[in-house]
Structures are given as structure tokens and as C-alpha cells.
């Protein structure tokens, strides 16, 4: 029993597990912070749409022979830009355009994958995530995203919050709300493009939505909410990786299950209080 436990612990010290823990924690922190805006702006459907659209991005990358991880960054940013521009131009409602892009990109992805032979092995990694197969370039991408995210949020945190919390005032103050919304959508799309590698296209929205909502259940102040969101985001990612090593489970779904458990635990605590 003890030997088995030690063997599992030794796995955690292996380079692939260390990389997984490091990237899981970095992406967990980034997602939990951007998730605050996803929650405040009710952007879960947008996140879902961009993450599912990555299926098409991956298919195009495989079709053209590009690196899917790198191509996905540009593809997701492009998708977010299309959604933002069409919805802001008032040609169609935001909800409708997101729904249409969501369905169309999944359909296009399935058609493209049907045209590809042998592509399904690669695509499953992106559908469900493969944190243990991270290459050096993926580590750099995760680290780059972390640095970008922290810089971006440091620069625009207050402005984005004003727009979320008091949009009427933001307009009067002369804040270019549409431009900031556009920037936020692109930034979230970049986060999704990288996080897809960790938990997969199907589950990535959960990484953005669950930590802030778990924090919301128990926080009494905004500063507490922000801190708890980061704590849930990072700890649940790390715990998910450890759980997957100990129980031989897929890492991406394990991270989400731990997040969901944290959410329901906090919901219960809120109900009790």
C-alpha cells in the first residue's frame, strides 16, 4: 500500500507531471481572473462558442500542416473578433451571432475532420485535453499567456470593472466601451485557445466559469471574491492533476470534476449560512 503510494508520489516528481502541475496552476490562475469578467458580463455562451470553434481551428491546422497549438491562438482571436464586430455593428443580436457561429464552426470542424485521414487521434487531445503531453513550446505558450494576462489585467482591470459594474457611468465618462469589450473578447479567446490544450475544447468554459462562481458563493467582499477565485482556480487545477495521477484518470476531466466539487461545496456552505 505504502509502496504504491510512494510510486504514485514519484510520478508527480517526473518532468511530465511537473510540467502538467505548473501549466495547470498557471492556466487555472489566468482563467479564474478572466472568469470574473466572464461571470460579470454573462459571457459563458461566448466562451463556449469560441472553445467549440477551436475544433474547426484544429481541423484547419491539421489540414494545412500547421502546429494546432500555435494556429489555434490566431484562429480563436479571429473568431472572437468576428463575433465582436458583427454583434457590435447591430446587424444581428450578440446572442444570435454567437449561437450561429457556435453551430457553424462545430459543423465545419466535423466536415473538415471527415476529410482528414488519421486526424482523429490528434483531435481527441484537443477535445478532452492532454496536459501530460505538453511540449516545451506549450510550456512557453502557457508562460507567455500568464505574463500577457497579468500585464493586460494590471493595465485594464479598473476600466473593465467600471464597464461591467456601472456601464451607464462608463459611457458618460467617455470610456470607449465597445473598444474595451472588443479587447476583452480577444483576450478571453486567447486564454481559451491555450487552455484547450489543458482541459480540452469541451470543458474549457468550466475553467473560466466555475472558480469565480464558487468564490461568489462564499465571498462577502469583492477583494475576497477575487482572491478566492484565484485560490479555487489554482488549487483545483493542481488537485485535479494529482487526482488523475493517483487514480489513473484523464487529467482534464479530473480538473473540472474537482472544480465542480468545490462549487457544490461552496453552494452548500452558502445554503447553510
Amino acid at each position: 500500500m505504502l509502496e504504491a503510494l510512494l510510486a504514485k508520489l514519484s510520478i508527480l516528481a517526473m518532468p511530465f507531471a511537473v510540467k502538467a502541475l505548473l501549466c495547470g496552476v498557471l492556466i487555472g490562475a489566468v482563467c479564474s481572473l478572466f472568469g470574473i469578467f466572464v461571470t460579470l458580463n454573462k459571457m459563458a455562451f461566448f466562451s463556449e462558442s469560441v472553445s467549440h470553434a477551436s475544433l474547426t481551428g484544429i481541423a484547419i491546422a491539421l489540414f494545412l500542416g500547421f502546429d494546432p497549438s500555435v494556429f489555434l491562438i490566431f484562429f480563436s482571436a479571429g473568431m472572437a473578433a468576428v463575433i465582436a464586430l458583427v454583434s457590435q455593428s447591430s446587424i444581428a443580436s450578440k446572442d444570435s451571432i454567437i449561437g450561429i457561429v457556435h453551430s457553424a464552426t462545430i459543423a465545419a470542424g466535423i466536415i473538415l475532420l471527415g476529410l482528414l485521414r488519421g486526424g482523429m487521434t490528434d483531435i481527441s487531445r484537443f477535445l478532452f485535453g492532454d496536459i501530460y503531453a505538453l511540449r516545451t513550446v506549450d510550456i512557453y505558450i502557457c508562460a507567455g499567456l500568464f505574463v500577457f494576462s497579468m500585464t493586460y489585467l494590471y493595465a485594464f482591470w479598473k476600466t473593465h470593472l467600471t464597464i461591467c459594474v456601472a456601464p451607464e457611468f462608463a459611457v458618460i465618462e467617455g470610456i470607449p466601451v465597445k473598444s474595451y469589450d472588443f479587447m476583452l473578447m480577444i483576450a478571453i479567446a486567447l486564454v481559451i485557445a491555450v487552455a484547450v490544450k489543458i482541459v480540452g475544447a469541451i470543458l474549457v468554459t468550466a475553467l473560466l466559469v466555475i472558480p469565480p462562481n464558487a468564490a461568489k458563493n462564499v465571498a462577502g467582499t469583492f477583494s475576497g471574491f477575487r482572491s478566492l477565485s484565484i485560490i479555487f482556480g489554482t488549487l483545483c487545477s493542481a488537485a485535479g492533476v494529482v487526482l488523475s495521477v493517483f487514480l489513473d484518470l484523464p487529467a482534464g476531466p479530473s480538473i473540472i470534476v474537482v472544480n465542480a466539487a468545490a462549487y457544490f461545496a461552496t453552494l452548500f456552505m452558502r445554503g447553510v449560512n
Binding site: 470593472l161 451607464e168 458618460i172 467617455g174
Partner: protein
């Protein structure tokens, strides 16, 4: 130090939404440091007029001038125009205290001005309360405080008492009077509550696409005028010394 606006001039103002005329040749001027109410039926163009005065909409004819300066400049560069919306869209389930709201949304909270605004509006004791636990009247006070902290000189209030009880209503109007008397602000209110508004304002603007009348409420507002303005749907009548909406 911000400059002070002396006069607000609305000149031959018109606005069309597509082919539909919303405002037609509106002209009036207002003095600084007064409380003005814009009254009129639904669809009279009250909100459109205020949006144009705030620089959020461009008129299709004429213009608004604050000492000769356009609203876009007065609002953006000079930051002199403030607004208190009818419906504050804040998610009330969100954990944010009153103090955090100000700290996170105010551009440059001047320490002295911040404390003065909060104490004047009785918000000091609410500083640590969660926003979702505030009443309608307390939310209105918070929104007014936001404008004071930003040093806005002209504050527009859209239906300031629509979501609050009678007690809260009298408190809001007491604060509005303070805005004029204590803080030397110019206040412009949109309201349907004619009786309460007329008791508390210096000038009334009666609007129904065109300007029906403007002046001191006790001189120009009559039952006949109100009935004409609201196409017979509203009127004033008196009994036992009280005036009520019909």
C-alpha cells in the same frame, strides 16, 4: 480646478429616428445652479433630449451648448456632466461593498471629496454593506455620490424615485435640493411624478415632441396645461389643500 458652466442653451434642436420625428425645434436656456424637471407623456422625447444633452446622441438639427461648448467636449474632456440612470443594472447577487464600488469604479477618488460625498449622503455607515443589500433609495444616494466624487457640475437624474417608497422619495428630493444649495450643482430631472417634482424644482420643461412650455412650475403648470400635455390622460386636481395626480 474645473470650470463652471454658466448657461445651458438648447437651440432649434431636432431629432429623427429614421423617418420618425422624436424632437422638433426645441429651444430653451437654463441657468447654472437650478433644479429643472422635464415632464411629458411616454414617447415625448424626454430621454432622447437628455441623451443629446449628455452627448450620447447627435441631434439631426440644432444643438446643445454649455457656455457655447458642445456636450461631447463638456462630457468627455471637461468631465462636467453626470448621470443617474433610472435602472441601475448592477448584478445584486455580486459580492461588492459600497466602499469597494467607489474604489473600483471612480477614476481618481479625491480623498476629501470622497469622504464629503459619503458623509453628506449618509453613506458612511453603509460603507461596508454589500451592494445587493441596499434599498432603492440607498442605491440612488450611492449613484448621486458617484457623481459628486467625480466633481460633475451638471447632474441628470432619470426618474430618480421610480423604484423607491415614499420615505425614500422624500429623502432623494432632500438630497437633490442639497445638490443645488450645498454643492452648487445644476440638476435636471426626468420624471412622471408631476406633483412631487413640481414641489421641488425651480424650472419645469413641458415636452411632447415639441416644447409646450418652460418656466416656474407654480406660474405655468395648470390642470388644463397638464391635460393638454398628456392628451387628457393626466391632470391636476385639488381637494383639502392637497394636489394629486388624477
Amino acid at each position: 480646478m474645473k470650470s463652471t458652466i454658466k448657461t445651458i442653451e438648447v437651440k432649434d434642436l431636432s431629432f429623427k429616428a429614421g423617418e420618425v420625428s422624436v424632437l422638433e425645434n426645441i429651444s430653451f436656456s437654463l441657468n447654472y445652479g437650478t433644479i429643472t424637471a422635464i415632464i411629458g407623456p411616454n414617447g415625448a422625447g424626454k430621454s432622447t433630449l437628455v441623451k443629446i444633452m449628455l452627448g450620447l446622441l447627435n441631434p439631426t438639427g440644432g444643438g446643445v451648448y454649455y457656455d457655447g461648448v458642445t456636450p461631447g467636449r463638456v462630457s468627455g474632456e471637461m468631465n462636467l456632466l453626470g448621470y443617474v440612470p433610472q435602472n441601475f443594472t448592477f448584478d445584486r447577487t455580486f459580492p461588492m461593498t459600497v466602499e469597494e464600488f467607489f474604489r473600483l469604479t471612480c477614476k481618481m477618488p479625491d480623498g476629501g471629496r470622497f469622504d464629503e460625498a459619503l458623509s453628506s449622503l449618509g453613506l458612511v455607515k453603509l460603507k461596508n454593506r454589500v451592494m445587493g443589500a441596499l434599498s432603492g433609495g440607498e442605491i440612488q444616494r450611492l449613484l448621486i455620490a458617484y457623481n459628486l466624487i467625480h466633481g460633475h457640475e451638471i447632474i441628470f437624474l432619470d426618474e430618480p424615485t421610480s423604484a423607491i417608497d415614499i420615505e425614500g422619495e422624500s429623502m432623494v428630493y432632500s438630497i437633490i435640493r442639497d445638490l443645488k444649495e450645498k454643492f452648487k450643482k445644476t440638476v435636471i430631472i426626468i420624471s412622471h411624478d408631476i406633483e412631487t417634482v413640481l414641489k421641488n424644482v425651480d424650472t419645469v420643461i413641458c415636452l411632447n415632441k415639441t416644447l409646450h412650455c418652460i418656466g416656474c412650475p407654480h406660474e405655468i403648470v395648470t390642470d388644463t396645461m397638464i391635460k393638454q400635455l398628456f392628451d387628457g390622460a393626466k391632470g391636476l386636481y385639488r381637494h383639502g389643500g392637497c394636489r394629486h395626480d388624477a
